[in-house]
């Protein structure tokens, strides 16, 4: 009888430990299943700004937008397919002065769609197709239909899941923005009560931090001697902060440790130094903000080797006024992704063959033009939540991901904009915790479960 009782209790205990997660003091939650990590690093490129499927995965160039019979692929680092043969405007200027007449040379010998999986038709299924809503959905896996501008995501972001469930340090997670407009700096963590700043990602808008303004107001900041100056400063500040703690709050921060804070400062100094010495390895063509952002992103990858990096681009949004400019930006966004993937595989040994790359626009663009003509008399396009602006694609490459697989069609879309978060969680090994959190879009699921 006693033995039977013991066995019963043991069985209940075992079942309980499997069914209910255990919360460590650090906040890390170990739950059942989820599978081991597929890779130690994820780089998610938000191919943002509003990309039409027609000029991207459908490779229609001018035929579906301007009524001209010219088709072709201008994203040849990411997609397979022949380039347009006529009306080339998307490259760099030719020596004889033809604007955009020289396409940028491909970086990847094998396009990414051959190296990984292309979800050709993915849906942005809910909420309006605005940039911040799209970006917020991309990083939180939740359509914030009540999400305001100048407001952090309402639901936890993938950074917070990664730090809380994956136990990542602050410097393991980075959000690299293409600027400080459109509330971009608010995407590194949510305002969710159970997550928030203490699980947030580090953030740089590097074209500002290391650009002209950073050169003037940051470069050359005083470096304190670690023992003779920094140590007393920390002691003095500790005294001041302890005295204030009972009455007031703290300066907003991201739970970087003192070592991480000093490491980030050392990184800032190093980037300015490398910039002065011409050692920054930027994409071969760096003539817009997206390319510079990706160039600086590779510095962060080289220095910190983050577990999770999200990079944001947006230059294609010039399509509101200029279709020609949109084509140039799209071609450059592809150049940026090719450069980034090549850099990871050739310049960061710790991340080579150990990184999953995910690329997804935050939303699409309208089917019909807004009537604005550019210098080539081509029509511009907005994104007003029509059906076409809800069409996007998602691409993945890296360890454990089949090469050359293409899924979905316009009539049979596979995947949703909210699926990237559980997909990243699956790659990094905490999918079940994210799915069980209850904070994702109700239909959200890992793309790996839809193959």
């Amino acid at each position: 009888m006693k033995r039977r009782k013991f066995l019963k209790k043991a069985a209940i205990t075992a079942a309980g430990s499997i069914a209910f997660p255990y919360l460590l003091p650090s906040g890390r939650l170990f739950a059942s299943g989820g599978g081991p990590p597929m890779a130690e690093h994820v780089v998610f490129v938000m191919f943002a700004g509003g990309v039409r499927q027609q000029e991207a995965v459908e490779k229609r160039y001018l035929s579906e937008s301007q009524g001209l019979d010219v088709e072709g692929n201008i994203m040849y680092n990411m997609l397979s397919g022949e380039v347009p043969e006529l009306k080339i405007v998307y490259g760099t200027d030719t020596p004889d002065g033809q604007p955009g007449g020289q396409p940028i040379s491909p970086i990847l010998q094998t396009p990414l769609d051959q190296q990984g999986i292309l979800f050709k038709e993915v849906r942005f299924s809910s909420a309006g197709t605005g940039h911040f809503t799209g970006l917020s959905t991309g990083v939180s896996g939740y359509y914030g239909t009540t999400q305001g501008l100048q407001q952090r995501p309402l639901h936890p972001t993938i950074f917070e899941y990664a730090r809380r469930f994956g136990g990542f340090k602050a410097t393991d997670t980075w959000f690299i923005g293409n600027g400080i407009g459109n509330s971009t700096p608010l995407l590194n963590h949510s305002e969710h009560r159970d997550f928030g700043w203490e699980y947030g990602a580090n953030f740089f808008a590097p074209t500002i931090t290391f650009g002209e303004k950073g050169e003037q107001h940051l470069k050359g900041f005083k470096s304190f001697h670690p023992e003779e100056e920094l140590e007393p400063i920390e002691q003095m500040r500790y005294f001041l902060n302890q005295n204030f703690l009972q009455n007031g709050g703290r300066i907003p921060h991201l739970n970087n440790t003192e070592e991480e804070k000093e490491d980030i400062k050392a990184f800032i100094r190093e980037v300015f130094d490398r910039k002065d010495m011409g050692q920054l390895l930027f994409p071969p063509v760096t003539d817009n903000g997206d390319l510079a952002t990706v160039g600086y992103a590779t510095e962060i990858l080289r220095y910190f080797k983050p577990k999770l990096t999200v990079v944001n681009m947006s230059a294609v949004d010039s399509c509101h006024e200029s279709y020609t400019s949109y084509l140039k930006a799209l071609h450059r966004a592809d150049h940026a992704v090719g450069f980034l993937w090549n850099y990871i595989q050739t310049q960061v040994p710790e991340m080579a063959n150990n990184t999953v790359l995910i690329v997804m626009p935050e939303h699409g663009r309208n089917l019909n033009s807004n009537g604005i003509l550019d210098e080539n008399d081509w029509f511009a396009f907005d994104h007003d939540s029509d059906a076409n602006s809800r069409r996007i694609f998602t691409m993945m490459a890296g360890p454990g991901i089949d090469g050359g697989l293409e899924l979905g069609s316009e009539a049979n879309p596979i995947g949703d904009a909210s699926d990237v978060v559980p997909t990243i969680a699956e790659v990094l090994g905490f999918k079940n915790e994210v799915l069980n959190s209850g904070w994702l879009h109700s239909e959200s699921k890992s793309l790996f479960d839809q193959i």
Binding site: P185, G200, F204, I208, K213, L240, I251, K265
Partner: protein, 160 residues
């Protein structure tokens, strides 16, 4: 004539009756400043930068510079790091108004009081003053610059 005398006398009584007496109790005048318990509101980034620049340079920051520095701070996610690097840059400026080490060490209690007034707009408590005087006297590598940096990057400085 008699009427004029009455009017003059009435005015004299009228003003004399309104005059308030000033009492002197033979104690010194004291400057009253708030303590830190009332500091519950965060400064905006613009307020923080403006005040920090004024405290360190004893002059106002130009609007253009304020906009640029605010943008740089927005471009860095961890505001502690952003503020520390911006302040560390400000104190390298040639016109920064930081007293020399000799002045601090000539009268440490006065330096402590002035530093609290400059950065926290309040007087130190006796406990705080004691800590600082002891700390500065026992740490020869501590300079006015490092003290100012600690104050300007402390939590209380971010609140008002």
């Amino acid at each position: 004539m008699k009427r004029l005398v009455y009017i003059f006398s009435a005015c004299l009584f009228l003003f004399a009756s309104c005059k308030e007496k000033t009492y002197y109790y033979e104690v010194n005048d004291i400057e009253i400043l708030p303590n830190n318990s009332g500091k519950t509101k965060q400064k905006s980034v613009e307020q923080f930068i403006n005040i920090a620049y004024a405290n360190l340079n004893q002059k106002a920051l130009s609007p253009d510079q304020l906009v640029d520095i605010t943008d740089v701070i927005a471009s860095i996610g961890d505001k502690q790091i952003a503020f520390e690097t911006i302040i560390a840059k400000m104190i390298t400026a040639p016109d920064v108004a930081i007293p020399p080490d000799s002045e601090m060490r000539a009268d440490v209690p006065l330096f402590v009081v002035e530093t609290y007034k400059r950065f926290y707009v309040r007087f130190p408590t006796e406990a705080e003053k004691t800590f600082w005087v002891n700390y500065i006297n026992s740490h020869p590598t501590v300079t006015p610059e490092t003290v100012y940096f600690a104050f300007a990057t402390s939590d209380e400085y971010y609140y008002y």
